[in-house]
Symmetry: C3
Subunit: 390 residues, 3 copies
């Protein structure tokens, strides 16, 4: 495949900045060019922090999660010393994947093909029938960076040094602290297939210009006016390059949680909100793929997983207090409902845009006053691409 | 994707003319090269007249049809002044498609994403929350050319000026006039998926060299000898570049309609044939995608819609007199049968050719005496490609 | 599509030889690059001998088989003089395929499209409605080379001269003679879809380093130690470029056939083993696509058919003595079981490797002492690619 003429002629980051200067949406080739998509996988998704899961999934030595992005697969392991270790899910012998499961527990990792065996630290401990000069110490599983923030575990496939994840998210720390996310657990997971480019999924999540007409359930509790410009969101904060963005989600009067009715979905409140602090709902985004929104009783973790230039998998986890009991403290259908219906409404919109921007007739239009955060996303995208020289 | 070496080295129109000079079929890469297919979408299908539908589908203000070709989608609208308006189905803001339905009625077009609102004339009438200097008059829906001929509505995605559709079809006017197509209506529609290049579908429809062995139902009434050379078809006429071609379909003795038995399929005759004029069956083709065949009691409108280099969607509408009543004047199964079985027989043949011409061993052979119209199609194809500099 | 940077910069055969020198597996792009795959189809599969079927399928004049590789399709015909003729399954007129069936009997081949008719020798005998100067003798079906070895029929799509098949397989002749394969017949066929590159399927079949942990059924009778290095396999022999490789399959004590229990699967023994010769199990491979393994009572013929860069169709035929009667001498479920379960175990491994080698983190590791034949396959691959200048 070959890039579009514009993509071949100029850096994509420079083009994006030009459109940003004009207050415009982005041109169609950024959402339809398959070679650009391959570049994005390598330059963005394999160089940035990607959400892997929640620490409650990694409590015992040998507990592991896998994370797949493009052709890459990582295993995130609770090792024997209580740390978290990330390794490529690729045997050092012939390349077979060590595990196929998305989650499990292992005492060691044995390649299914020829039984090369690795410890929880990734060291090669067994390789039958090799030559006498074979040195096992030269063939540990290749490392993937990991980091934890508020109980949320991330990986980074960069081969070299990486930025500090807590550093990147520092400005969100105080905002999210009361939810004590680390002491929650995952009550439910949904995986959505969206026939749209991953950037359209992000853009959709960045503005509520579309909410009034499209999200009657969501706007029962969410006070849409707060999204009408960036500064209206209480405590809004973002990093210089806009990869990190956080703020409270102002709620309508009387709403105590982002649910169908405003009543909490879980009877077991999270964290410090049990101790009298004024409850609120807050969100933190970390491009390119992660967003989380917490109310005092439950939260969600979104992951935007690019699958092809026009196909994205969105994974959503619902988190509740570790001690909340299904059927007693919460009901899964009720817990997931407002985000599930909102998501499905959004995917139809994203898919419509994907079809429309493929037209030769599409010229990106001016952004509205309510789309400043879409411009913020463009900014973060340009920054991530520029960092890779693209 | 990259073009085949021959396609890279020479204009495809020149190559086609060389094969035409030799009386030969065309080489395999013209049916298998994915980059050529992309060129054809842009150079041919987005620059020529494409059938959209019948005026009976656009009787009331706000009635609309959509037409999709490649990445393009048009909305064809009966506007408030009784005219027909064509617009791109792409919002001027972020590019969402305004309508997903293939047909409907709208008082105005409201983008599902952010409620930008357009009148039936395509003018932007509402766009909430824009900056003060936003000028709605600069953002009408982009226009698609439309034209009507005998009640058949066509669109043309060309950005610039376009040829006159009635001018292109002028020589067919007298031939088709008695059917009074404009006063018919659509009784039935079938959509076929054909695993073959769109040009193979056309070539198949251009000759009856294959009819005797393959179409027992069709040849009960159709007098195949008439196809044995071009001049044998009564009244045969075509434009200089062969995009337009028309003529009568000679019928076997006793046949009064192109049906399974030769008896009319609809008891309500079309147009002037009720008034004593000698009935006949006639066809008109307009490349790249349209063909119609009318008998005195019913007609069909074929559309050849390219989907990928080796996949074509063929849509067939069956038209009857506007006053003909289903179950009384005609029975849909009987009405559609002869063309439906003939189509299915043809698609199997087209698919076999698609597989065969992909072989490196395929050398195009000489055309028979009965394939002059296939050469005519090649001629029209070369002309359309040459017009785009290809 | 464009080749990976390494593939663009150097001949693939030279790169493979470098990895061979280091005793290493091959890098990932050889299994994931779509343009390399297209090269392999043309340079390897369309230039080498490909298994078509068994002579028992071609006993009567007009009996035919078809063989499909990539875009090519051949018809292998028992002609009227008792010989075997190979032709391209492509009509010389417009390119339709003459037959769709994988097997059949024909008195002549009539193109379904326009009834061009060919004799069993491929000569064009009828073509209606051509011009007076049309010379049928100029349009025979294009020839595909065929050859027979021990009752196994092969085709070769090379346009020019080809090597002698019996010459290539000469060193296997004595080893396979006792099975009298020509007098067997096909009792059963399975077709497997494997989501892995065709070379991974071969590499899997070349070593038993993976057998102990993965193939409990197979290793009940197969004496795995024999695979632990090349020289341990009795009678092991191979051609200089390793395309041909053959040897006995040492069996565990007491096993008389490669079955679930070691007992024969067919009560009707093959060939000379009825006459007191010490029974054995033996295998012969012929790259790029063929392998056969015979025990004294039954044998299998494997064919590795590349479908795309990451998808391979494997066809396996089970052969028994021509006079063996289903339900009496053998039971199909029992006959096929050991290879069927072994195959399914292997495909999961091949698919795991396909996923793993796509990672940017994959570096090919050192081959074990038990993978000398994998290196042999790499050698044959380099030789076949080098022969095509790649």
């Amino acid at each position: 495949m070959t890039a579009s003429p514009e993509l071949s002629a100029r850096k994509v980051s420079d083009r994006v900045l030009d459109y940003l200067d004009r207050g415009s949406a982005l041109p169609g080739d950024l959402y339809t060019d398959a070679s650009l998509f391959e570049d994005e996988l390598r330059a963005v998704f394999q160089r940035q922090w990607i959400y892997a899961g929640h620490v409650s999934q990694l409590t015992q030595p040998g507990d592991f999660l896998t994370v797949d992005i493009g052709a890459e697969s990582a295993i995130v392991i609770r090792d024997g010393q209580g740390g978290i270790k990330g390794v490529h899910n690729v045997c050092r012998h012939r390349g077979a994947q060590l595990v196929e499961e998305s989650r499990g527990n292992a005492r060691r990792f044995v390649c299914p093909y020829h039984q090369w065996t690795y410890g929880l630290d990734g060291a090669l401990t067994g390789a039958p029938r090799m030559t006498d000069d074979f040195d096992k110490s030269r063939f540990p599983l290749r490392t993937v960076h990991t980091s934890e923030w508020n109980g949320l575990v991330f990986v980074n496939f960069s081969p070299g040094d990486v930025e500090s994840l807590p550093g990147l998210l520092a400005e969100s720390a105080e905002l999210m602290a009361p939810f004590e996310i680390a002491s929650a657990r995952i009550a439910h997971t949904e995986v959505y297939d969206v026939a749209a480019n991953w950037k359209l999924v992000w853009e959709n999540s960045q503005e509520c210009y579309h909410c009034n007409a499209n999200h009657p359930e969501f706007t029962r509790t969410f006070d849409m006016r707060s999204f009408q410009n960036d500064t209206a969101i209480s405590l809004l904060s973002f990093s210089g390059d806009r990869r990190m963005q956080c703020g409270t989600f102002p709620m309508k009067t009387g709403a105590r949680s982002l649910t169908m009715t405003g009543a909490p979905a879980s009877g077991r409140q999270l964290g410090q909100f049990d101790n009298g602090r004024d409850p609120y709902t807050a969100a933190t985004h970390l491009k390119p793929g992660f967003a989380t929104v917490f109310s005092p009783d439950y939260g969600i973790a979104f992951t935007d997983v690019p699958r092809s230039v026009n196909h994205t998998e969105v994974r959503v986890q619902w988190l509740v207090h570790a001690d909340a009991e299904a059927g007693v403290d919460y009901n899964v259908e009720n817990l997931k409902r407002v985000w599930d219906v909102t998501n499905l409404q959004d995917w139809a919109l994203c898919q419509s845009v994907q079809r429309g921007v493929a037209s030769e007739a599409f010229e990106p239009g001016p952004l509205s006053l309510d789309e400043a955060s879409v411009a913020g996303f463009y900014h973060s995208y340009a920054a991530m691409m520029a960092a890779a020289g693209l």
